[in-house]
Amino acid sequence: MPQVFHRSTNTFSRVSIFGFLFFVAAATYGLALLNRSSYVTEAGVAREQPVPFSHKHHAGELGIDCRYCHTSVERTASAGIPSTQTCMNCHAQIWTDSAVLEPVRASYRTDSSIRWTRVHDLPDYVYFNHSIHVQKGVGCATCHGRVDQMNLTWQESSLQMEWCLDCHRNPERYVRPREEVFNMAWEPPSNQLEIGRELVRAYKIQSLTDCYTCHR
C-alpha cells in the first residue's frame, strides 16, 4: 500500500527544513560571537597573581606614575616589568612584615624572580611597540583601561586584529595630547574628533594599516 507516511509528516518535514536553515544561521552567528567573547579573548578576566598586586591601590590611591615601574615605556618596544628592586624601594620601609609581601621579600633575598602571570599576551607574530604609541599620544588607558581602578589586573580590550585596526584606521577618535598620555582619568572631550584631527596633524600620526606595521 502506497501511503507510507502519517499525516503529520507533512508539517514535520516542512518545519524541519526551516528549522535546519534557522539552526545553521544561528550556529554561524553564535560562533562569531564566541570568537569575540571574553571566553576566547580572555578580556575582563582578572588574573590571579603570586602577589595580589593592586594597581588600584598603587596607581589610583597612591597616585604613583605609570613610569615609576614601567620605566622603558617611553623608550622601547616593551613597557618593562619592574624588578623586585623597584618594589623594595618602598617596601623595605613600609609593610615590611606583611605576609602578603613575603614572596617579594623572598625574591629580593634569594635574588630569584617573581613569576607573574601574564595579562596582555599578543601572538608571537605580532610586534607591538609601546614607545611609539606613547609618543603619538595614545594614552595608557586607551588600551589598558582604567588600570588605576583594577585591584587584580585584567585585560581590558580584545587585542584582536580588528580592534587594533579600528584605531589604526581612524586615530583621531582616540589620540590625546601627549601630556595626558599617563593621565588615567582623562576623558575624551565632546569635540574629540576635531581635537583628534589637530593632534593627528601635530604629531604627524600616520594611519598605518600595512601588514608590516605589525607583522614581520
Binding site: M1, P2, Q3, V4, F5, H6, R7, S8, T9, N10, S13, R14, I17, L165, T209
Partner: protein, 178 residues
C-alpha cells in the same frame, strides 16, 4: 466551508490518451477542481486542465539578479571599503577581476531559486497525500494513469460523479479517503 466526507473520486486509465480524453470530458462536464496523475510528463495534460503557472521563471530571474548584485557588491565592499590593500599595484576597484565571481553567484542563486521555487509552488515536500490511500495509486509511478475529481468541486456528488466516471470506461474507480 464544510469539509466533505471524502477527498475525491479517483479513476484509473491504461494509456495517456485515455487520461487526456477523460480530463477533457470532465472539464466539458463542468468539473474544475481536479488533478491528473501520470508516470511521466504529458504535454497535453496541463493544457487539458487549463493549468498555467508562469511564476517560476520570474522567481529565477529575481534570484539571479539578487545573486549577481550581491556578489559584486561583496567584492567591491571588501576590496575598496572594508580593507583597501595595494595588491600588485592593481586598482582597488579592479572590476574586470570581479566578473567571474559575480557570474558564479548569479548562477548559484538563480539555480537555488529554480529548485526551491519549484518545490514551494508544488507544495513539496508532502509525504502524506490522500490519493496515496488508494492502493492501486502505487501504479501511478509505473504504468497507470489517474484522474482525481476532488470533493470540494461544487459539481461533485458521490453518485453523479461516479456515474460520469463510469462512462469513461476506466480500469477502476475508487473513492479517496482523506
Amino acid at each position: 466551508m464544510r469539509r466533505p466526507p471524502i477527498y475525491g473520486m479517483l479513476a484509473e486509465f491504461d494509456t495517456p490518451t485515455q487520461l487526456v480524453t477523460a480530463v477533457r470530458k470532465a472539464r466539458a462536464e463542468g468539473y474544475r477542481v481536479m488533478d491528473a496523475y501520470s508516470p511521466f510528463p504529458i504535454e497535453e495534460l496541463h493544457e487539458a486542465l487549463h493549468f498555467h503557472d508562469r511564476r517560476l521563471p520570474l522567481i529565477v530571474l529575481i534570484g539571479g539578479i539578487a545573486g549577481g548584485l550581491g556578489g559584486y557588491l561583496l567584492e567591491y565592499w571588501t576590496s575598496v571599503i572594508a580593507y583597501p590593500l595595494n595588491v600588485g599595484g592593481r586598482p582597488l576597484h579592479s572590476w574586470p577581476a570581479f566578473i567571474p565571481v559575480t557570474f558564479e553567484t548569479t548562477v548559484l542563486c538563480a539555480a537555488l531559486a529554480a529548485v526551491l521555487g519549484m518545490l514551494a509552488l508544488n507544495g513539496l515536500p508532502m509525504p502524506y497525500h490522500p490519493v496515496f490511500n488508494v492502493p492501486r495509486f502505487a501504479l501511478a509511478t509505473r504504468d497507470q494513469f489517474f484522474l482525481c475529481i476532488e470533493a470540494i468541486d461544487p459539481h461533485f456528488d458521490r453518485e453523479i460523479t461516479r456515474r460520469f466516471l463510469q462512462r469513461l470506461d476506466p480500469l477502476s474507480i475508487s473513492e479517496v479517503e482523506h
